[in-house]
């Protein structure tokens, strides 16, 4: 273990006429063995019988046994034999007990790779199964929400409130900051060119509409995907790995009803509230920029009340319900579909964020088309 012990001559090689003799002495522990490993194996590379004299060995640890086995293997590769002599009885017993055959590097277990044809088939059937499972999940969450609406008493309020707190009020600072800065940036970028045409007061209209209809809901949803959806996926994923989800199932409780429904409900409840807050923060950010370029607050408020209609806020809020459901639902689904082992939890978390953001953008595009067509 220490340097001075490693410096002791543990190995002495004697190449005789008929055989090679390795004299081992002292402590065979990881440090001394590491120091003489290459030399010892080098000495048995010739096709000659080897005698290992262990009479001087007063301690043989695992590394010592590994060395003896490695010597046997190396010699065996060219048909030579190794005799180990003089090993103290207490080590001899362990040494003789080793089953040499089984110490060879074992192949990894089959993990289901049968060439690309099989892979394609496997992935296709997996995907098909995925879609079915996802549709089932959506159905079960929907059914759970309906039954919850009929029997509100069945909601475990304390647990639900904990989720709402974490997903909702704890997100206020970050949602506020991100939205405020978004408002600042838009106002600032727009004010400069619009001032050249003397229409910079209309920056208020621009900010108000962009924030309420698009950016407020989207920013909120993305922040939620990053901090709440991923937390759901990690929490439920860890439960899955620890077999807590299995325990729920065997107790006859549906993991979807028990874990996902309250979280989706929490997502639907807090997202619109956070979105309203985000809209206010974003517009405030825009107004602050305009005040800094010398518009009086009264003028700005006047402009704002003309620019913003209730309909714009409603358009944003309707979206936010769906965004909340998607973010929470995806987080729970990814959590419930976590594989085995801690790495799987990480995978689920990542996938929950990526899938959520993708779906938010897709949903937003759909809303844009629908709103345009119904002239909302």
């Amino acid at each position: 273990m220490t340097a001075d012990r490693a410096a002791q001559p543990v190995l002495r090689v004697e190449s005789g006429e008929k055989e090679t003799v390795l004299h081992l002495a002292g402590r065979l522990d990881d440090a001394t063995v590491a120091a003489c490993w290459d030399e010892a194996l080098g000495a048995v590379s010739a096709a000659r019988d080897v005698r290992v004299d262990c009479a001087g060995v007063d301690y043989c640890g695992g590394a010592g046994f590994a060395l003896l086995v490695a010597l046997e293997e190396a010699a065996g590769r060219h048909g030579a034999r190794v005799r180990v002599e003089g090993l103290a009885a207490r080590f001899r017993e362990l040494y003789d007990g080793l089953e040499r055959e089984k110490l060879r590097a074992a192949p990894e277990p089959e993990r289901g790779h049968g060439g690309w044809v099989a892979d394609v088939g496997y992935i296709t059937s997996e995907r098909a199964g995925d879609w079915r499972a996802e549709a089932e999940f959506v159905g079960e969450v929907g059914a759970g929400l309906v039954s919850l609406a009929r029997h509100p008493r069945t909601l475990r309020l304390r647990e639900w409130w904990r989720i709402v707190e974490k997903a909702g009020s704890n997100a206020l600072p970050i949602v506020g900051l991100v939205s405020f800065l978004t408002g600042v940036i838009i106002a600032f970028q727009a004010a400069m060119p619009m001032r050249q045409f003397g229409v910079d007061i209309f920056v208020v209209n621009l900010v108000a509409l962009a924030i309420t209809r698009e950016l407020g809901p989207i920013m909120t949803a993305i922040v939620l995907a990053g901090r709440t959806g991923s937390a759901f996926a990690a929490e439920i994923g860890t439960m899955k790995v620890n077999e807590e989800v299995a325990a729920l199932t065997t107790m006859g409780l549906s993991p979807v009803r028990f874990l996902a429904v309250p979280r989706v409900l929490a997502g639907i409840a807090v997202t619109p509230l956070l979105t309203v807050y985000s809209m206010a923060a974003g517009i405030a950010g825009g107004l602050v920029v305009l005040m800094l370029i010398d518009f009086p607050l009264a003028t700005l408020m006047n402009q704002l009340s003309g620019a913003l209609e209730l309909q714009d806020i409603a358009a944003g809020l309707i979206k936010s319900f769906f965004f909340g459901a998607v973010v929470a639902g995806v987080g729970c689904l990814r959590g419930l579909r976590t594989g085995a082992g801690p790495a799987a939890v990480g995978d689920s978390t990542t996938r929950s964020v990526v899938t959520s953001i993708f779906l938010i953008v897709v949903l937003d595009a759909i809303f844009a088309v629908v709103y345009y067509n119904i002239d909302f």
Partner: protein, 252 residues
């Protein structure tokens, strides 16, 4: 502490979040013996063990391992003490992303200069000692709970420590595997002189391997000595209940 003893616990008070679970614990472990910490579920066996290995800071008291106090040790001094022993946790605590061979080879990689081939061979050798031939390439999630325990014992032994702490090695194992594990512990103790400190409540293991035991109850040590002696001449009611109810149920 004299040369005959490898572990000494002095006035240890330990618990969680300021709440003491164990009060003023004192005992010593002799070099080379198999020492068992007994007690019912929740009596604080794991807590005692975790404090002995320096995982939690003790509320007060000292734990000497090979002459050094682990409670106050920091940095390099602490690392030096940690190298003296191996630990098997109650749940196994194998790294899920690594094969069994990788798990056992990890401490070797970190602490020795053995070449990679030697580390791998040594890891498989340790796995063979715990009867996991042929599973070296498996991930922990691909083997059973009992096999995970044995792999964890193999990992604890990777560096040939003179002292091993095992938390419930045989719980959750079938009687045959459990007896094999006991046999392994005995053979390691006899042949390599390894000292074992084992938390357990398996009566069969206790009588099969323990040289000496302490029994925990109500936050303190209620008995100490040879397990057969304690069974045949229990010093108090708890000790009697512990040994005799178990025996009656085994006989029934």
């Amino acid at each position: 502490m004299d040369a005959d003893h490898i572990v000494e616990v002095r006035g240890l008070t330990a618990g969680y979040a300021g709440q003491a679970v164990l009060h003023d614990i004192n005992f010593r472990v002799r070099r080379g013996e198999i020492f068992m910490i007994l007690g019912g579920s929740g009596s604080g066996k794991s807590t005692l063990l975790k404090n002995m290995i320096g995982l939690y800071p003790a509320m007060s008291g000292e734990v000497f391992i090979g002459g050094d106090d682990i409670v106050g040790a920091r940095g390099a001094a602490r690392e030096k003490i940690l190298r003296k022993f191996g630990v098997m946790y109650q749940g196994g605590a194998l790294f899920g992303s690594m094969s069994l061979e990788g798990n056992v080879a990890l401490p070797l990689e970190e602490w020795t200069r053995l070449p990679a081939a030697a580390r791998a061979l040594l890891a498989r050798l340790k796995l063979q000692q715990v009867g996991l031939d042929g599973f070296a390439g498996y991930l922990p999630s691909e083997i059973s709970g009992g096999m995970q325990k044995r792999a964890a014992v193999a990992r604890a032994m990777a560096l040939d420590p003179a002292l091993l702490f095992l938390d419930e090695p045989s719980s959750g194992l079938d009687p045959v595997t459990s007896a094999e594990l006991d046999e392994l512990i005995r053979s390691l103790s006899r042949n390599l002189g390894i000292t074992f400190v084992i938390a357990s409540h398996e009566l069969s293991s206790i009588f099969a391997i323990a040289d000496r035991v302490i029994m925990l109850d109500g936050g303190g040590i209620v008995a100490e000595g040879d397990p057969r002696e304690l069974r045949d001449r229990p010093t108090n009611d708890y000790v009697r209940a512990f040994f005799h109810h178990g025996k009656e149920r085994a006989a029934a």
